[in-house]
Subunit: 217 residues, 2 copies
């Protein structure tokens, strides 16, 4: 939240327009994202770019944070959960996550982060990770723990349970998209996969009706 707030008002409207231009260039992967191309697209001068963002990497980092600052979806209230509410919330999380990783924006930013991670400097990669995988984890864990507190789920380690859910939802989608596989991700497909993943998660971690034994030794 505070991250989002700082990212939101850290830049002026004009600067946000520039960051949007960078995003646009990243998503439209056709041509290389050079500083000249950015300046052209944003109708600003390269000098201004460097004045505002330091260097090219600073500009890319700012773009990642800017995109992250608007992705935050509303959290879920974790009180008075019943089974169907929990299921719905998990399914909504799954739908949201699948939509995000299937979006051209996410694909482009992850590619940038991965490329940077391969070039020694791991700052961007870590940033993408923090706003992707780890952000979704921190948002989902409270829901899982609320489910456990209400006797709907049974697990020992929240992190392990979350990672299982993550795997059931994401499967091979992200790596295939990152590697350029044409993978149709229609809204209907996403909804179906989210429902399947949620069902499977309940099969693995759903608590028996009357008692609360722990799975996962």
């Amino acid at each position: 939240m505070s991250q989002a707030a700082t990212a939101m008002d850290e830049w002026t409207e004009r600067q946000k327009d520039v960051l949007d231009a960078v995003l646009d260039l990243l998503v439209t992967g056709g041509d290389a994202v050079t500083t000249a191309a950015i300046a052209r697209k944003a109708n600003c001068s390269k000098e201004t770019l460097y004045k505002w963002f330091g260097d090219r990497d600073g500009l890319l980092a700012a773009t990642v944070r800017w995109q992250a600052s608007r992705v935050r979806a509303g959290n879920f209230d974790a009180q008075h959960l019943d089974a169907s509410q929990l299921r719905e919330s998990l399914e909504a999380f799954a739908v949201n996550w699948l939509s995000v990783i299937s979006s051209r924006t996410s694909i482009a930013l992850n590619r940038v982060g991965i490329s940077h991670a391969g070039s020694g400097k791991s700052g961007l990669g870590r940033m993408v990770l923090a706003n992707g995988r780890f952000a979704i984890g921190e948002r989902l864990k409270p829901l899982l723990e609320a489910g456990r507190a209400n006797g709907l789920l049974a697990f020992d380690d929240t992190e392990t349970a979350f990672r299982t859910f993550f795997g059931l939802v994401g499967r091979d989608v992200q790596i295939r998209l990152l590697l350029g596989d044409r993978l149709e991700t229609t809204e209907a497909e996403i909804a179906r996969d989210a429902a399947r993943a949620t069902q499977q998660f309940f099969a693995l971690y759903g608590a028996p009706q009357t008692q609360k034994p722990t799975r996962e030794g």
Copy 2:
């Protein structure tokens, strides 16, 4: 197999040495993988590089195929499976797959493929995908189907079952490593995660003892 054979004898020993040098440079991510650096490392001239492999992309593609040609692990015999054999085979697959995606080589090659996929030309990405995700799929599916034929597993769609297994095994490991996350992947951790994933897979797709109803509507 035929792929591996062609890749194996497509190049001379000297050329394989060059490809090994490329791999070495890719894995040691410190410095950029320039053609000059490759020539220096391989003690050959740039002109030879271009004569043998066409251009830089051809060299990288050859490297991917060369690495892929050596990774093929022995297949499993799918006849006369009992439950414990199936479990062991699945666990071995999981261990193998986790070891592969955790290896510096796999990380480096996937990064290259992803970077290329982001630059329009998707050839390398597709190649990495074919020798990674899809190769493991083609190797594992016969085992799953043999398990079903022997009444040990219950599923309708082999692809769906495989992708679930893939997700349970891989979870967030690959994306985290690709983005530069330091994620300790000791042999013991891998063995434990492989066992957990296999157990979860049986919980989802294991056939009931006496009958064979289908899961997954």
